[in-house]
């Protein structure tokens, strides 16, 4: 199988790489991987390249692409909100992959801001059958605070170090480009709506977001009984960092995603490359 490069979209402003297994069946879902922050489509440390190629080997058609103004993609020239533009870009991506691989349903995968983009589209586009949220929406809970503060309150060494660290950190801040998170109640309602529409959801969070998420139990603390829904899968990779900088961590993440896809969206017989 060979990957193909495309310039596509309603204004031919998007750039993406499609992996097209030779005999993918119409019933097989197409997998679309969204930008993580401002990193172009290859993903942090080439995560998206490894991911899409492994999924191609399993028989899934894939597309990794740059949203408008990120990576190699240009602006569309429309006066859209960022929300409208992301939904329109992903719609363009689904159209392209549908034309190239004949798939009609799609799974979106996104890390960090990519997870937010996937969430946005999964809320409203009927072609989305599932989503993998990597370090997606999360909220500090009472459990989080207890797990965070109690060990620290009892640690004398840590108390001694607090002041010196504070001094060292002063004035070393980098400008941060972040997206304001949606309110917790809105995200809960969104996820419930997705499940009602039959979507299957995979939430994988890492130890790299320990500033606001620090235990597998926190999925339930954040989202309540939703996480017990049979179509919701959660996993906390405590040892990994936010962008999976270590090859072993990346491998474990990709194995998990492959397993989840195989269980929830099996490739139709005879569709492997």
């Amino acid at each position: 199988m060979q990957e193909q490069a495309f310039r596509f979209g309603r204004a031919r402003h998007l750039v993406g790489i499609a992996g097209l297994p030779s005999s993918a069946a119409r019933e097989t879902v197409g997998v679309i991987v969204l930008n993580a922050g401002l990193v172009h489509r290859i993903g942090p440390f080439r995560l998206h390249v490894e991911m899409t190629r492994r999924l191609n080997a399993q028989g899934y058609p894939t597309l990794r692409f740059d949203l408008s103004t990120i990576g190699d993609s240009a602006a569309s020239g429309e006066s859209h909100t960022r929300h409208q533009q992301i939904c329109a870009d992903v719609a363009d991506a689904m159209k392209l992959l549908g034309e190239q691989a004949a798939c009609q349903r799609f799974v979106l995968i996104g890390l960090c801001s990519g997870s937010q983009s996937a969430h946005m589209v999964a809320c409203s586009d009927a072609r989305v059958a599932g989503a993998v949220f990597l370090d997606g929406y999360a909220y500090r809970t009472l459990g989080y605070h207890l797990r965070y503060y109690v060990p620290r309150l009892l640690d004398v060494k840590r108390w001694l170090g607090v002041f010196s660290r504070r001094r060292a950190q002063q004035g070393s801040g980098e400008p941060a480009f972040t997206v304001a998170p949606l309110p917790q109640a809105v995200v809960r309602a969104d996820l419930a709506g997705m499940l009602e529409r039959g979507l299957k959801l995979c939430l994988i969070y890492s130890g790299g977001i320990s500033r606001y998420f620090n235990h597998a139990r926190q999925f339930r603390e954040c989202f309540g009984g939703l996480v017990r829904h049979p179509d919701v899968f959660t996993r906390f990779f405590k040892e990994a960092d936010h962008t999976y900088i270590l090859t072993g961590d990346r491998n474990r993440l990709l194995e998990q995603i492959e397993r989840w896809l195989a269980q929830n969206f099996p490739v139709t017989a005879g569709a492997s490359s």
Partner: protein, 260 residues
């Protein structure tokens, strides 16, 4: 969409169409052509935006540009662990030929940052470059390998990244997010440059505390130009922060404009 975007064509080329490239056609018949040789590893991701901006600035000057990924990097075929120095040099020659064919210009210049500059310098004769612009090239391979090893070891206990320190085996055989082979390590450790094989402009922006290895390499001091502010190539706190530099874009476009 702008005509500029339409003129940026992504494609695969080379033997078995294994290399990804993005050709920036000049709006008018091109007068010159520049091949942008990317750095390796995380530097390649950090510089992606800058390389695109540089390509667009050159195109605005009537210069045709090709950006590409070596085998085992970016969108090109191959795994990260398969990156090989000799293959990188061969890929540069392949990309230079592709640029000549697409632009119709035989006189091709090369630009590279860090190891991308080293690769451009090492492949200058094979790729028949008319000149090279080298931005903070790695000229002392052994020192560079030691530096990357030290950064990788420090990563193991980076509390800003990991909740718990990682085992040494977890971080082995990698440099800052990318698997590396023993052969690539040895190839880079063995790098040593004396005289450039093509007219070279050396743009230097290393932080003041970093050792310079330019002595003994550049024969004419006039071919060195300093850029400000210093570029934080090796600051682990900025490992995932893009490298951007307007002075760099101005210096390269001006140089390409002025060379015969």
């Amino acid at each position: 969409m702008s005509a500029r975007g339409e003129a940026e064509l992504p494609f695969y080329f080379g033997p078995e169409r294994a290399l990804f490239g993005l050709f920036h056609a000049a709006g008018t018949p091109a007068r010159k052509a520049v091949l942008l040789c990317p750095p390796l590893g995380q530097d390649q991701i950090r510089c992606h935006r800058l390389y695109r901006q540089l390509a667009q600035a050159l195109v605005a000057d009537g210069v045709a540009v090709l950006r590409f990924d070596y085998y085992g990097t970016g969108d090109s075929a191959g795994d990260s662990a398969e990156v090989d120095w000799e293959r990188c040099l061969a890929d540069v020659a392949t990309a230079a030929a592709e640029l000549r064919a697409r632009s119709g210009i035989d006189q091709v210049f090369a630009f590279g940052a860090r190891l991308g500059a080293s690769i451009a310098l090492a492949s200058a004769a094979q790729a028949r470059f008319a000149g090279v612009v080298a931005w903070d090239p790695v000229l002392d391979g052994r020192a560079y390998v030691e530096q990357l090893d030290a950064l990788q070891l420090a990563l193991r206990i980076d509390r800003a990244r990991f909740m718990q320190p990682r085992k040494e085996t977890d971080v082995a055989a990698q440099w800052l997010g990318f698997a590396i082979s023993d052969s690539l390590r040895q190839q880079i450790a063995g790098l040593h440059f004396k005289r450039p094989a093509a007219p070279t402009l050396l743009l230097e922006s290393l932080p003041p505390d970093r050792p310079r290895a330019w002595n003994g390499f550049v024969v004419d001091a006039a071919t060195i130009r300093s850029l400000q502010p210093p570029t934080p190539w090796d600051d682990p706190r900025r490992l995932e922060v893009a490298i951007l530099s307007h002075p760099l874009i101005q210096a390269v476009t001006q140089h390409v404009r002025e060379v015969a």
